[in-house]
């Protein structure tokens, strides 16, 4: 008999495409296709292992999102879902050209900046993160947005914010045209005051 942990059978002559496995996990397959996938999975541990890896990846992404440590554009649905899961959301809304006094506390789970902007007639938008002198440090390219929305909802990494000393960050939304040129949509200043214990400035090794 085979030992524990060994697959049975060990070879798969017709492995399920990873895209199909993803759709299976997401319950997005039609009934007959889903049944065929399940029949295969009950005969093939190799594909079962691949599905487990996919689930682990999905769970890993979920944990990352839950940790609030990703800097990314999110939707209202994302915020609603986070609130329903009991996460504490700290939000700041900034008008075009406006500045906001902000902080985070140990209890906060998610940090959100709402950047007001006119998004109509725009093809592509980049979000530039700049230092207090306005010099671009990082750029989120081709961010998702809805033309009908009146703002972009940006999640800042809560891990970064909790570690950050009192400082000023400038966010800049720009539309990018066909030639790759930037056109300003809005600039937003976040004056972050540290409320957690820690060094007064970033430590550089």
């Amino acid at each position: 008999m085979k030992g524990e942990g060994q697959s049975w059978p060990v070879k798969c002559t017709n492995p399920i495409d990873i895209k199909v496995l993803a759709d299976y996990w997401l319950a997005a397959l039609e009934g007959p296709v889903e049944e065929a996938v399940e029949e295969h999975l009950f005969d093939c541990d190799k594909c079962g292992d691949r599905l487990r890896e996919l689930i682990a990846l999905a769970e890993g992404v979920r944990e990352l999102a839950r940790s609030g440590s990703l800097r990314m554009i999110v939707s209202e649905t994302f915020l609603k879902s986070a609130a329903e899961k009991g996460l504490r959301i700290r939000q700041y809304a900034a008008a075009v050209g406006g500045s906001v006094e902000c902080t985070v506390t140990a209890e906060d789970d998610i940090l959100i900046g709402r950047l007001a902007a006119n998004l109509s007639d725009v093809r592509r938008i980049d979000l530039c993160i700049c230092n207090d002198a306005g010099i671009e440090q990082n750029r989120l390219r081709d961010i998702p947005f809805h033309p009908g929305a009146s703002s972009v909802i940006c999640q800042e990494s809560i891990t970064f914010a909790k570690a950050a000393p009192t400082s000023r960050l400038i966010y800049r939304l720009v539309s990018v045209d066909e030639t790759g040129s930037d056109h300003p949509l809005g600039e937003y200043t976040f004056n972050h005051t540290r409320s957690l214990p820690g060094p007064g400035e970033w430590l550089h090794r």
Partner: protein, 180 residues
């Protein structure tokens, strides 16, 4: 020498009363049932309960030679899983009494379900995704939103969302060193 039993031979040995064959059945089928349960119940503990219930049902049936075509063991287990999930959804009671009776024999079928992931590496991989792809995977796996919901947020077609999702998953697998 290690002998790999076919499903049919395994079924016949269980019918003949071989306890070691029952243990092998658990080793072979438990991971598959657990995976099925996780997909349909979305809960590790519920999936574990389902696995134990199914194994009890299957062993009972095989001890009494109720499977007419022994080579079709996998189909039999899958069919039992489907029926049990249906029953669960109809609010059927769990088989606590049988679990008490058979539970200790099934402990060996337990396994660590998920491969362990390096979360720090995954964070780096997710950060390297394009903005839209990152949004798609987070909305998909964190919010459990359908392609239609994500498409509505992004202002693109559902087909486009599926392409982005697939591309992102492939990139994450590559970045995490998953080669299978």
């Amino acid at each position: 020498m290690e002998i790999e039993l076919s499903d049919g031979e395994l079924v016949r040995r269980i019918a003949a009363g071989e306890r070691e064959a029952e243990a092998e059945l658990c080793r072979r089928m438990a991971p598959r049932i657990r995976l099925y349960g996780l997909r349909h119940l979305r809960d590790v503990h519920a999936s574990e309960d389902l696995t134990q219930n199914i194994l009890i049902t299957i062993i009972e049936a095989l001890r009494h030679s109720r499977l007419r075509e022994p080579e079709k063991l996998a189909s039999f287990v899958l069919g039992t899983c489907r029926m049990t999930i249906l029953d669960l959804r109809r609010g059927a009671q769990r088989k606590e009494r049988l679990l008490e009776q058979f539970g200790p024999d099934l402990l060996g079928a337990s396994e660590s379900f998920r491969p362990r992931l390096d979360q720090e590496r995954l964070a780096h991989c997710v950060e390297n995704l394009k903005e839209r792809e990152r949004t798609v995977v987070v909305m998909t796996f964190y919010n459990e939103q359908t392609s239609a919901d994500v498409a509505s947020f992004l202002g693109v077609s559902e087909a486009n969302v599926r392409v982005m999702r697939h591309r992102a998953i492939c990139q994450l697998r590559d970045c995490m060193g998953v080669t299978a």
